[in-house]
């Protein structure tokens, strides 16, 4: 157990590798109630989110979800987040460790008819992830989850409990995230019902350790590791959620300037030789000189190879480029590969 963002969280239940493979092969459940949820109401709610986030909210319609980010004026990243279009309101889902910072940042920028409500403490969140997640949840609801496209959501009941369910997740597998009232009785009912429904798939609880290895195998960024206030979304490979042409938003001017000046570094995937694990903060050596840094690394349970994400100079950011990672004094050969490291099935 570790303390994380004010919650007591399990790093693992049965073991990171077993939990990881459980999600890749059948289904696992993550209690990610620690994540933050904000509700944004008011006539100007959508215009406000359009100005505060990098993606284009006008492309959303009711029932859709969008991956996005918030930037500082200098283009550094405040947080990455999900934007839920709930008709006349917006729900944002933010990283647990950034709840207070994000809420303050948003509050400082409110203009017009906008009301922000922090619903984090009253919202429970379970992520049900893996190829058998649909079959598991379908047993507990009348909702047509089978027809729910990726990054869409529905409201209804699962196990008789009112909830919002979205086809989203942080694993690269088919999966769902279920938001409901944070009440211990309801949470226990929901948890027990899901585990009963998934019993034949050997459904298992998944800890923070496997959450990290699962997301890393598919190249998803983790705030605080791969992205933070010193990195911008363009160099982090998040250009696809950074719509510089959508009009004014916080950080846009700096990002446009950075793009025009030419990016200096890029976040890439590395396949690292040997079995010593590359980890956050280890140096990347290019032509004998420290030139980059590992932001995340692990032994991939599926590939049984060491993988990493690292910021490297643009000149050596294409797949195939070779370099070394300095792992506790030893320079270990590595090469740039495409991410995701494994095929996604989300």
């Amino acid at each position: 157990m570790v303390d994380f963002a004010g919650f007591r969280m399990p790093v693992q239940y049965q073991g990171i590798i077993a939990e990881h493979k459980r999600v890749r092969t059948t289904v696992g459940v993550f209690d990610v109630t620690h994540m933050g949820e904000f509700e944004i109401r008011g006539r100007d709610a959508f215009a406000f989110i359009q100005r505060m986030t990098t993606n284009d909210v006008t492309r959303l319609s009711e029932g859709k979800v969008q991956y996005s980010a918030m930037c500082y004026d200098d283009g550094g990243i405040v947080d990455d987040l999900l934007v839920y279009h709930c008709g006349d309101t917006v729900q944002l889902v933010v990283n647990a460790s950034n709840i207070a910072k994000d809420f303050a940042w948003l509050s400082d920028h409110v203009a017009g008819d906008v009301t922000l409500v922090n619903r984090s403490d009253e919202t429970a969140l379970l992520a049900i992830q893996g190829p058998k997640s649909l079959e598991t949840l379908a047993r507990l609801t009348d909702l047509d989850l089978a027809s729910l496209p990726y990054y869409h959501f529905l409201r209804g009941r699962i196990a008789g409990i009112d909830c919002l369910v979205s086809r989203t997740g942080y694993t690269g597998e088919l999966g769902y995230e279920v938001y409901f009232e944070a009440d211990i009785g309801l949470a226990k009912r929901m948890w027990d019902a899901i585990f009963e429904a998934g019993e034949e798939f050997e459904i298992a609880p998944i800890g923070l350790g496997a959450r990290d290895t699962l997301r890393l195998e598919v190249g998803y960024c983790l705030y605080g590791n791969d992205i933070d206030r010193t990195t911008n979304p363009l160099e982090a490979g998040l250009g696809w959620i950074t719509k510089l042409g959508k009009g004014e938003f916080v950080g846009r001017d700096a990002l446009v300037r950075a793009k025009e000046a030419g990016l200096k570094r890029k976040l890439v995937g590395l396949l690292v030789e040997g079995r010593s694990v590359p980890r956050h903060g280890y140096e990347v050596i290019v032509n004998g000189v420290p030139a980059g840094v590992v932001t995340s690394g692990t032994m991939s349970p599926m590939l049984e190879r060491c993988i990493a994400m690292a910021y490297v100079p643009v000149a050596v950011s294409e797949p195939g480029a070779s370099m070394h990672v300095r792992i506790r004094g030893q320079d270990v050969p590595a090469r740039v590969v495409k991410v995701p490291f494994i095929e996604k099935h989300a």
Binding site: V11, S276, V277, T298
Partner: protein, 125 residues
């Protein structure tokens, strides 16, 4: 948690099985549990080690930790099985998951090792 009575322990979570002037060394069930899934054990060479000196490292998914020589002597054997199956350290830390054999030089150092109950007291299990 299991801390066999016939073994001795260090504060850095190694166990020691004493057999004359040869000792077998591994890490405790507590250490293996704290590390989580072990994916690689790097013990570079048979060599002389001083008590407390790192003789290798153990890589788990989440973290990496040094291995410390519990006693002064010469490493004479490295468990060949843990090269291919590092998970033995998790599944059988006091048996198949042993790491090295050391021929010790100074039997007086044995007195400083912890017995099972003292080690249990240190780790609080």
């Amino acid at each position: 948690m299991d801390f066999p009575k016939e073994l001795k322990y260090t504060e850095t979570h190694e166990w020691v099985r004493i057999d004359g002037d040869t000792v077998t060394v591994g890490i405790t069930a507590y250490a293996a549990g704290e590390l989580g899934d072990v994916v690689y054990i790097d013990i570079p060479e048979l060599k002389h080690v001083d008590k407390g000196e790192p003789f290798g490292s153990i890589e788990a998914v989440k973290t990496v930790s040094d291995l410390y020589a519990p006693l002064t002597g010469t490493i004479t054997e490295i468990n060949p099985a843990i090269g291919d199956k590092p998970e033995l350290v998790n599944s059988d830390p006091y048996g198949e998951g042993w790491m090295v054999r050391i021929t010790i030089e100074n039997a007086a150092e044995l007195d400083a090792l912890l017995d099972a109950e003292a080690y249990r007291g240190k780790v609080g299990h």
